[in-house]
Symmetry: C2
Subunit: 359 residues, 2 copies
DNA sequence: TTGTATGCGTTATCAC
DNA sequence: GTGATAACGCATACAA
């Protein structure tokens, strides 16, 4: 037998409506003396408002959905955590779904979240297109695409990505600067634009320096350190002269590191390595991972911010639209040199980290 | 203007109730001919049922809440992923909250989830007690405690943990077996029972072998590879003779690995290392991490299972109770020797992994 | 200032 | 087998 507004009202000797007014601070005032009685009654009964009922009435759930390929991947984990933080700060609750590179499951989650009437949706696409774009548009629920650029996203409120191509170039140029001449590349699935962009950056850098980036020096694998380890072994053995590797994700770089060890090659002495993402873990491998860091927290925070703006706007004037939401917001990346490329390996202590850390 | 059951009913020339019956497959039958018209109308209008309204009516949301200390920690990430999988399979949606070792925030999330009328709650406690146990009990919402044992949890439907003490002993005995004689320990915050248990296991093993485990060989840090790196440096420098280290979490072991490198010590040659958890990442460090593996997936799956049972039971007979839910379910652990303890480092290839992997 | 009444979209209990 | 109708808990417009 749950305690409801009726019970509170009865105990306070007033009406349920008044209880609402004191709880919501409006839209009407309530006599100080009545308010006291109401608060006392709430306290006494341990009354807790039912968000479900409020959601139904207000047509607003104060929840947002987050669909992520795999929260087990450190990069997505950091992204998800930052999204959750931003949502929490704004008073929203997060519904989480792992799509697991399975477009079917991604669609299923989007549908479930829409049925749950989330106020907005943050989507990190698993495939090259968002299969649910149609349903999303039809539902009128605002949504943003995070981290990965996709086509055919008409109704989207915003797309937020890092400057992948530039990052790929930065990484490769840095390897060249270290005097490396034969630079291989470990990349992710070809249907993900991010990775193709990073590979383009790799080609940009090599081309600009008079070297050609042949397919021979490229391996495509899943975004998994295990798959990357196998690919790196294959690459290193098939192309003996390689003295540098650009891995398009930190996760894969961990596998490359392992492959080097297994083959008896030293990093960076024999093979220098630069990767991409800038996850926390990259600073504490052996050696430290030189990486092109993304502004993970900013990406997530801005994504939620864009989403909440769209939700607000939707509430006021359903017709209005943000300025060209189809044009992606591109976030800058920055090279963080550490040991794996041949730069001095900076020892970042935990205490220094904690003071200078996030927020 | 959302399309509702009324619209479907009108188009199909029937009543909203009938639409419910065809959608829910009960509790009453419906004439095949009517059912066809209803389905056609649903299709035509692109009707999607409103879960919020259904939840309010049914007093059942088909959601469960998960409160986790930090989904960025690989161990919790794997746990969370497994919980999500189990929930998904059972048709439940997951609400996620990061408490971040902040009991205040944990309480806040529990409250929010209760207000959202989750059907059940999975809690990985951040503190030594569950501050919200009272509210939980009062609400009557079933909940389980995962991974960490805590006191004063009267209303809990179940507690699921690994055999921490035994694991600590396993790890340490293995180091002894390798001929290591001075074995230090890096542990986590003293208010977490898990870590204390693992430390007890460490003492057990040392005591049983006639060696004494002095406080000098112990360092307590946060569960962070960064903090652990600092602590390990301190430990290794303050106690020169150390030839083995037991780290109570894989996460911390990563920091120990780094500390060893920085001090010019080789692992396992100079210092052998065994840790605890068995996260995916442990198999691909350099060297591979010897670790006492938990059955992460089973822990999560059983946790959800216990929770769902309690939900079912609650639905049928609110009074009934499971058999002594206060007694924790203890899961076995298993030693996975790899390179860091001195065992041969098995190279687990991605392909072999994928076939033998989860599910 | 306060109480009353209606509706949000569903589900389930009614008579028919 | 079917259609009307009440209720879930809350928010607010409206009458008092």
């Amino acid at each position: 037998m749950p305690v409801t507004r009726r019970d509170v009202a009865k105990l306070a000797g007033t009406s349920p409506a008044v209880v609402s007014y004191v709880l919501n601070g409006g839209p009407r005032g309530v006599a100080p003396e009545t308010r006291e009685r109401v608060l006392a009654a709430i306290e006494e009964l341990g009354y807790r408002p039912n968000r479900i009922a409020a959601s139904l009435r207000r047509n607003r759930t104060m929840t947002i959905g987050l669909v992520v390929p795999d929260n087990t991947n450190p990069y997505f984990a950091e992204l998800a955590h930052a999204v959750e933080d931003a949502a929490f700060d704004a008073g929203y609750t997060l519904l989480l779904g792992n799509a697991g590179s399975d477009v079917k499951r991604e669609t299923s989650y989007v549908r479930t979240f829409l049925d749950s009437r989330v106020d907005g949706l943050v989507l990190i696409p698993s495939g090259e297109v968002v299969a649910s774009a149609g349903e999303l548009a039809e539902s009128g629920t605002p949504w943003v695409v995070l981290d990965r650029l996709v086509d055919h996203v008409d109704g989207v409120a915003g797309q937020l990505v890092s400057d992948n191509r530039h990052g790929g170039r930065l990484a490769t140029e840095h390897l060249l600067w270290h005097g490396r001449t034969r630079i291989g590349c470990i990349t992710g699935p070809g249907h993900v634009a991010n990775f193709n962009e990073r590979v383009l950056g790799w080609r940009d850098a090599l081309g600009g320096n008079g070297r050609d980036a042949t397919a021979a020096a490229l391996r495509e694998t899943e975004i998994s350190r295990f798959a990357a380890r196998d690919a790196a072994r294959d690459l290193l053995q098939a192309t003996p002269g390689i003295d540098g590797v650009f891995a398009v994700t930190d996760e894969q770089a961990l596998g490359v590191l392992r492959a080097l060890m297994e083959l008896g090659l030293r990093c960076p002495d024999d093979v220098a390595l630069v990767s991409f993402d800038g996850i926390d873990a990259s600073s504490l491998t052996t050696p430290g991972l030189s990486t092109v860091g993304q502004s993970i927290r900013e990406l997530a925070t801005s994504g939620v911010s864009v989403l909440l703006d769209a939700i607000e706007r939707d509430d006021d004037a359903p017709a209005e639209r943000a300025a060209d939401p189809a044009r992606p917001l591109v976030f800058p990346v920055h090279l963080t040199p550490r040991g794996s490329c041949g730069c001095p390996d900076v020892f970042e202590s935990a205490t220094r980290r904690d003071t200078g850390g996030r927020r």
